[in-house]
């Protein structure tokens, strides 16, 4: 699919930059030739794409709403990823089950955040997962990265939220993302809970990682004439 890229040419990053504890690399090493691809220096697999459109961000003056929109951008990414994987149908067994259930959760998170934000919710960007959802091994690796990242992103933002209702909603999603992470790690043969403490990951770093994947291919305000490819 020909994709309009955001903001010039984002640098691709090696897998290990996303790989907090080596679990992804370990998994990749079990994948043979596919693992070679995943470990390669030009690998851009994984974590994803969340660069928030500047326009949407500027329009949000309330700090809490800015945080919720950031969370929404991550949920859009995750929801689209699992929805596409389910639609493509290349997964089977435990992976397919994970994609189906987790996808339904991520779509629910999107709806919950949209509901909290009302008319101030950012719009959904367009995604291109570049075939990752069609390959079970790549799907699995990317899902591990997404879920660990999502958990770390919510963790970094939660203490900044002022509104109690927003905070209560955010922490209840935060722990679900952690469940997802443990789930897909277990499926991947990695330790579901690799550390005694999960560490937060600051927004600029998350957004850089997301941008590096090139999964987000179009700003939601893009003047494309085509419909979004995925609506998860």
């Amino acid at each position: 699919m020909t994709a309009e890229r955001l903001g010039g040419a984002p640098g691709r990053i090696p897998l290990d930059a996303l790989d907090r504890d080596g679990a992804l690399t370990e998994s990749a090493e079990r994948l043979g030739s596919r693992g070679e691809f995943l470990r390669g220096g030009a690998v851009s697999i994984a974590v994803g794409a969340l660069a928030l459109p500047g326009a949407a961000r500027a329009a949000t003056h309330n700090a809490d709403e800015d945080i919720l929109n950031y969370a929404l951008s991550l949920e859009y990414l995750q929801a689209a990823f699992y929805t596409e994987a389910e639609r493509v149908g290349a997964l089977s067994g435990r992976l397919a089950e994970q994609a189906r259930v987790v996808g339904s959760h991520e779509r629910a998170h999107v709806e919950a955040l949209q509901s909290l934000l009302g008319g101030r919710a950012i719009k959904r960007p367009r995604f291109d997962f570049q075939g990752v959802t069609e390959n079970p091994a790549q799907f699995r690796q990317t899902a591990v990265a997404f879920e660990d990242l999502g958990t770390a992103a919510y963790k970094a933002e939660a203490p900044k939220i002022q509104n109690a209702e927003y905070l209560a909603a955010a922490v209840r999603i935060h722990s679900v993302e952690a469940r997802h992470a443990a789930w897909i790690r277990r499926v991947a043969g990695s330790v579901p809970a690799p550390d005694a403490f999960d560490e937060p990951k600051a927004r600029p770093r998350v957004e850089r990682l997301v941008a590096s994947t090139e999964f987000v291919v179009a700003d939601p305000v893009t003047r494309t004439s085509s419909e979004p490819r995925f609506t998860g």
Partner: protein
């Protein structure tokens, strides 16, 4: 040890208005009742409840309230640490279950140590623990582990709005690890690792009730 005299209910941190037990999640109660029949009978832990704390009304976050909430968390972590330590000693676990017990037990110990350190001289005394026969079989153990981790996740979520941002940042580093444990344990038990899109958030009183239903605490 006259611990009984120190026991009061943990409702001191239980009145959280944001804690919305199961109003939106009617299935959770049934889940716990089922588990209580299955896995929990026989565990007896006296004095897990927080003793000697002032009955602060739950209100805007403050350093004093942080202390109270962290003491509640400390007792939860002590309970979990002891639970897994006992499992390691008395359960003939193999394979993934053995790994789960070892890894998660080490996490709970680290959580307890961090919270104890944060509280310093404000930490309440450790409870006396008296486990029963929940470790009789891997099945009864993992059911109890699922229930215990579920309560821990919901309890941490329920306290989020009671904490100052600094204390919340610490608690959140633990809370998601408890959620990973819950997911892992559920997977071992053959259940959906993430049964709902939004996790429960419960107050301390509800947490106490759930642990009591499991036989994990008395009173």
């Amino acid at each position: 040890m006259a611990f009984q005299n120190r026991r009061i209910t943990i409702e001191t941190v239980g009145g959280a208005s944001q804690a919305q037990p199961d109003a939106r999640d009617p299935g959770a109660g049934a889940e716990f009742r089922r588990r209580a029949l299955f896995g929990g009978a026989g565990i007896l832990i006296g004095g897990i409840l927080i003793g000697g704390l002032p009955r602060l009304a739950v209100s805007a976050p403050s350093a004093a309230q942080d202390t109270e909430v962290l003491n509640f968390a400390l007792q939860l972590e002590r309970l979990q640490e002891a639970f897994y330590a006992e499992a390691e000693d008395s359960l003939a676990a193999t394979g993934e279950l053995s790994e789960y017990i070892r890894v998660v037990g080490a996490h709970e110990r680290a959580h307890r140590e961090l919270i104890e350190k944060a509280l310093g001289g404000d930490a309440v005394p450790a409870p006396e623990l008296d486990f029963g026969d929940v470790f009789a079989s891997p099945e009864s153990f993992i059911d109890a582990a699922v229930a215990l981790e579920e309560t821990a996740v919901a309890a941490y979520n329920g306290q989020a709005t009671n904490l100052t941002p600094e204390a919340l940042a610490t608690a959140a580093r633990i809370a998601s690890v408890e959620a990973r444990h819950a997911s892992w344990a559920r997977g071992i038990a053959g259940e959906a690792p993430a049964p709902r899109g939004s996790d429960r958030a419960i107050g301390a009183a509800r947490a106490q009730t759930e642990l009591a239903e499991l036989g994990l605490v008395t009173g």
